[in-house]
């Protein structure tokens, strides 16, 4: 039975083996032992509680971004601008925190406001790409890409301009916020259970929208055939805008987590490439929300595990990115092969 679900899983497993094999070849050609590299990556991510906590720190924003992208992909949109939406989420969060830096309001309230602000900031930034597409006829890929560059420039401007540290502005970012402006963390570890909770709520929310609501069904109809969806009575461009807003809000939440739970300030590369990584995760899981958690966790583990490589084996830590990219390519390739196979059988 190679046609059913089992077949699909089998083909994906083959893809995984091929990807590992391909990366092994690269490692061998660089004179390193693949087994040792993979072992180091594994112990680097799951070897201790502290390391696993680091994996979760990466997992949180990646999961939020993936959740948001599932919405825009369902609406048939390539929201490349997600990277900038994370950045704007982080900027707005930092902005709100700055406003309340001398306030006597309870910190919990301020953090909540800051996170909500981040979500709104991300959503508004996403709505720019949406407006450009709807009213300006600018494809969301180009609009989003352009806005990503603008968001980077805006971050640098703030860090070296209005929000610069007292004394000297530096690439290490703005002045860190006081400790009570951070989401509570597990003692001795860098992970905040609150952040983890927010990410899980995000993906569950998206799962239910797509699986169980009329909103989700209409979104899919718009994504699969814009014209027919309009004739069926769905307000199509509005639904495209909603999907941008939701994705932007989730990406903004990811940016807010980066500020309130990880860096406690605004830094130049605050989005850490999670937007592009999220695009890869979404493609890898074929836009099915149910697979977002394990795959995002796996990608986060690769990112963290590879940090060991330069230290232990004198290999570059970009190996994680190579493995992730190769994996996506092989999975897409095997999916194509499977469909051909199923047609013939």
């Amino acid at each position: 039975m190679l046609k059913g679900r089992l077949g699909a899983v089998l083909f994906q497993l083959i893809a995984l083996v091929l990807a590992l094999g391909f990366v092994s070849l690269i490692l061998i050609s660089a004179g390193a032992s693949p087994m040792e590299a993979f072992k180091n990556m594994f112990t680097g991510s799951f070897g201790s509680m502290r390391k696993f906590a680091e994996v979760l720190v990466t997992f949180v924003p990646l999961l939020l971004v993936t959740a948001g992208l599932l919405i825009t992909f369902s609406a048939g949109l390539w929201n490349i601008g997600v990277e900038g939406q994370i950045v704007l989420g982080a900027i707005t969060t930092a902005g709100v925190l700055r406003v309340f830096v001398d306030s006597t309001l309870p910190p919990a309230l301020i953090i909540t406001l800051a996170i909500l602000g981040g979500m709104i900031g991300g959503a508004l930034w996403a709505s720019l790409a949406g407006l450009l597409k709807t009213f300006g006829g600018v494809n969301e890929i180009f609009g989003g890409l352009g806005l990503n560059f603008v968001s980077t420039a805006l971050t640098l401007y703030l860090i070296f301009g209005p929000w610069k540290r007292d004394g000297v502005a530096s690439m290490s970012g703005t002045e860190p916020f006081p400790d009570h402006f951070s989401l509570p963390q597990v003692p001795e570890l860098r992970i905040s259970l609150w952040a983890l909770g927010i990410a899980v709520v995000g993906i569950v929310f998206v799962y239910f929208i797509l699986q169980g609501t009329y909103f989700g069904l209409k979104l899919k109809a718009v994504g699969k055939n814009f014209r027919a969806a309009y004739l069926l009575g769905i307000p199509t461009w509005q639904y495209s805008m909603y999907s941008f807003l939701i994705c932007g809000a989730l990406a903004g939440a990811a940016g807010a987590m980066q500020v309130t739970a990880v860096y406690h300030r605004l830094i130049p590369s605050i989005s850490s490439g999670y937007g592009y990584l999220g695009l890869m995760v979404a493609m890898l899981i074929n836009y099915q929300a149910i697979w977002a958690v394990p795959v995002a966790l796996f990608f986060a583990a690769l990112n963290i595990g590879s940090i060991q490589l330069p230290i232990v084996m004198k290999l570059d830590s970009s190996l994680a990115g190579v493995l992730q990219g190769v994996l996506v390519l092989f999975v897409l390739l095997m999916e194509g092969a499977r469909q051909k196979f199923v047609k013939k059988a």
Binding site: Y214, K224, R227, A228, L232
Partner: protein
Amino acid sequence: MNVELKNIHKHFGKTYANKGINLAIPAGTIQGILGENGAGKSTLMKILSGFIQADSGGQIILDGKPVTIHSPADAIHVGVGMLHQDPLDFPPMRVLDNFLLGRSGGLFPNRTAVARDFSLLAEKFDFSLDPDSYVDSLTVGERQQLEIIRLLWLGARILILDEPTTGISASQKTKLFATLKILAEQGMTVIFVSHKLEDVEHLCSQVAILRAGELVGEMKPPFSTTKLVEMMFGKAVTLGERLTAEVGDAILSLNNISLEDVRLKIKDVSLDLRAGEVIGLAGLEGSGQGMFIRACSGLVRPVGGRVQLKGHDLTGKSYHTFKNAGVNFLPAARLEEGLVPGLSLTDHFVLAEQPKGIFIDRAAGEKLAEDRIKSFNIRGTPLSTVESLSGGNQQRAELALLQTPLSMILLEHPTRGLDIESVIYIWAKLKERCKQGAAIIFISSDLEEVLQYSDRVLVFFSGKVSPPIDAATTSVEQLGQLIGGKGWPEKGGSHA
């Protein structure tokens, strides 16, 4: 070119689309392939033209030589060209670019020479195609014409036409038939796939009948209609009695509306449509009826005049306002405009009901889908995606999307691609809607259908619109003349 098909099998999952088909077509023949929807006609033709491959064991023999055809490119290489029911072209590109595509060799095409070839071919068959216009501005009929001359130009010596007469007018059909007869005389093999008995009887020099994937019989002229129908369906059918519903309150009132697009201008049309009434729009493809029906649905905004629905002025309002006021429009392009590929039948029926809540009621949705599938006789399950259905079943699915109640139903080619039994069945459903107080406007290029099911008919001829004609007292010949531009009053209407 002599064509021989030997022992062709093709199965999709557990169902056989073709089962051991043997057929010999000598050069110079116009071979008719008859059969109802899902009989396996399209599958057989797609195998011959390389779109799909037959199961192993069969053979395709051209002029005595066995050939393997893996792709449409292979097919055209050995001289097989297929004209699909839904034209496979590139709408965002110009006519001439479409014409050029598929021609191998040469990095820089000689556009002047190609344009000359194009004009010569178009002239030869009396097709009026502008090489510089964009394909998406053409009608289905014109796109078919483009495809025919393109295939001839590419060197097709076997021309397969899948339901070629569905999108085009009577006079275009006459033109097409004359062309096909000339081509056959020159030794070309023409395969004419249809379920229109009249066309097949009129044109073909031999006919093969398929039913449920099997070749059930062959016939040469003189044809016996009764026998052909028997072989197709297993029993005889006729169109049935004319039905007229009681006419009720005013539904749609058009007051001197004018419409415009790049090619056509329609001026000062007035019409009053009452509940229970059916109005047929007849005319060559692209004579303005498509624009007219879209104006009635709010998809096209009139440049002048007023549109009233049940006494409310809806001039210039959006399609969704019309829809909320009880107007449904079903377009002809099923998978492009009417249905959402990738979504299931259940999804479609649920969406068409304009659900108000937040959470999907799956049980209710599936029940709804099962009811509709049953009552519209769709071959599929609630979870079937629409693109997995055959053309006729997609058409029925589209009709099953109509909401209840409705004041006005607008249909573009509602029975295109349906066999005669389904046509009767669908119209019975639509007439039921009339009894419940809906008014219907429909476009069809089948003149018999127009006269059979309309109360009044509007004829379109390059932007001119006739006054409403009583369908009961008009003959097919009279209608055909009007469509062809004969018998119009000297100063009647105006056009671009």
